[in-house]
Amino acid sequence: MAQTLYDWLDTRLKLQPLGHTLLDEPIPGGASWIYVFGSATLFLFCLQATTGMFLALYYVPSPDSAYDTVQFIQHDVTFGWFVRGLHHWGASAVMVAIGLHLLQVYLYGAYKRPHELMWMVGVGLLLLMLTFGFTGYLLPWDQNAYWATQVGTNMVASVPLVGDVLVRLLRGGETLGALTLSRFFALHTLFLPALIVGGILLHLFILRRVGPAGPWNVEEARQRNETFYPRQVYMDAVVMVGIFLALVALAGTIEFPLADRADPADHTFTPIPEWYFLFFYQLLKYMSGPLEPLATWILPIVFVIGLLLLPFLDRNQDRRPRSRPVAVLTGVFFLVIMFTLLGISIRDLRAMPKLDPSVARGKALFAQHHCLTCHTLHGEGGKVGPDLSYVGNRRPDREWHIRHLRDPASVSPGSIMPKFPLSDREINDLAGYLLTLKGGSAPPPVTTSEVDYIASRSAPAACRSLVCVDQNHWKGYL
């Protein structure tokens, strides 16, 4: 069947020579597991493109909707958690793949003549991928996205002379807002893909014109040549399916959480960049004051230029690592510095007091259901329900909160608080958050019950303000 179809197409499209050109490309020295990183990167890029296109079906790049649409994808759309998980973990995996690909090319001296152009295009692709990571990070419009991008764009502002203009161009104005989000979205989904597809095609075109570099031992390369198909294709395919299954496992087991909705007024939030920017983030901590411009723009620019010009700086034609001590030691030195900084950064982040994820979810539910319309929290909010500022001191019993949230009237007879349609897990998260609302020195427990409290308010006024809250939550309760 497949053979018949192939023959039919072959007689019309002359596929045989095409297949020969694509698949029988000689691999100097034979197929090797060492050569899989390039195709792994390409595979991951295609996976990111695919999942990204599907995410765009439901995502809306506006500060009003972005967070809601990501929540919708994660919780309401069939397999939405899977597509988002794959895109998130794929983004990390593509950075790992690029890192390994770069390392292998560096170690093998594969950037040397005649591969200089291929290397330079590769460096361009690396920068594009980092821009993908940076622009994509803002899109969920949660606290982490907002504040990390705030820091990232501020670094651009420190570039002398043009910094102010650059940062305005990047943000679409003075502050990070709707225009920033829409331009980051357009960059991430339209401009960068167009650029990178061109770059990838150029990278592969050069590869086919000059051929792969092969093993560093020239004799070994000269002795044996092997066709790309079937053995190298088989190795690439095995690695691809391994990566795919690992990403599926990650997407299925570790939900990448959304932080709270972006809140420009909340200055207490400590943003954390993606792990592949962490070493740089750590470096910035050591370079404060007059040294800051060095870290924010001088070092990155020098590094990028150095990387681009590497084939011209390293003029030694021998590719064996043993004959290139300077290059190898420079590479090792860079890796040691990078991983040390990454390690310190991860250690510091672990030591930071962290909000229990369940409590964080409870806090998000509290905001999502507009609890502050009726309840007060540290002076802010409505006066219909009891002040919850120190409810954790007053009611330290989780079971009470759970019963109360499930059916307020069951523990506070006559309570006008509605039964919210929450799942058991959500009730538990919300109760967990309420229990954290404690004062340092516990104020005395309030003696009046909630019923008395509500009775002391005029009921009609309470009801009126309830109705105006949010038609949907209250529909059917009144």
Binding site: P26, L57, F244
Partner: protein
């Protein structure tokens, strides 16, 4: 497929696995690509069709006190309909025809003509519902009196609680001889 490679100047031997070895590599490649293909296709199809196939749940909407309605006289009543539209909760103004039968029973008609979906009107002089598009005429009970209408006016679920009228807003396919909810 045998290899008829052109000899390359600097490369003396171009080898390629043959026989069972070649078939094994091809087989593994096919299986690996199949796993990735199916592993992506199933969730992605579900991702696309999931929300498309999900039925919107019609909610009860409160219309107002029924003593404002006159018995036997159709009344066009407005209300705010709240529906979940993807990730957002949308509120839209809707209109239905309500005809009070007795102190506590009300019949509510969808405002859409079952023929091709135009809005029809109540002719107070002739005591008939008339659709301006294709001339369908209905009795106050919803029965078809004339015109191309294939079925009587569509009745919406309604209830009266404590003197207030509630309705569930539904839409039906046009042109069929029996109501089928959209």
């Amino acid at each position: 497929m045998t290899l008829q490679g052109t000899p390359l100047d600097e490369t003396p031997v171009l080898s390629t696995p043959v026989g069972p070895r070649r078939r094994f590599f091809a087989w593994v490649t096919t299986v690996a690509m199949g796993i990735i293909g199916i592993g992506l296709a199933i969730p992605l199809i579900g991702y696309v069709v999931g929300p498309a196939l999900k039925r919107r749940e019609a909610l009860w909407n409160e219309i107002g006190p029924i003593d404002r309605l006159r018995t036997g006289e159709p009344e066009e009543v407005e209300f705010v309909n709240s529906v979940k539209d993807g990730w957002r909760q949308a509120t839209v103004k809707k209109v239905v025809w309500a005809i009070k039968q007795s102190a506590d029973t009300v019949v509510v008609f969808s405002p859409i003509c079952p023929h091709l979906g135009c809005g029809y009107r109540w002719d107070g002089d002739e005591k008939k519902f008339k659709c301006p598009c294709h001339g369908s005429v209905y009795a106050v009970t919803g029965k078809v009196l004339a015109g191309p209408a294939p079925r009587p006016l569509d009745v919406l679920p309604s209830k009266v609680e404590q003197g207030r009228l509630w309705v569930k807003y539904q839409q039906f396919k046009s042109g069929l001889d029996h109501p089928v909810e959209l």
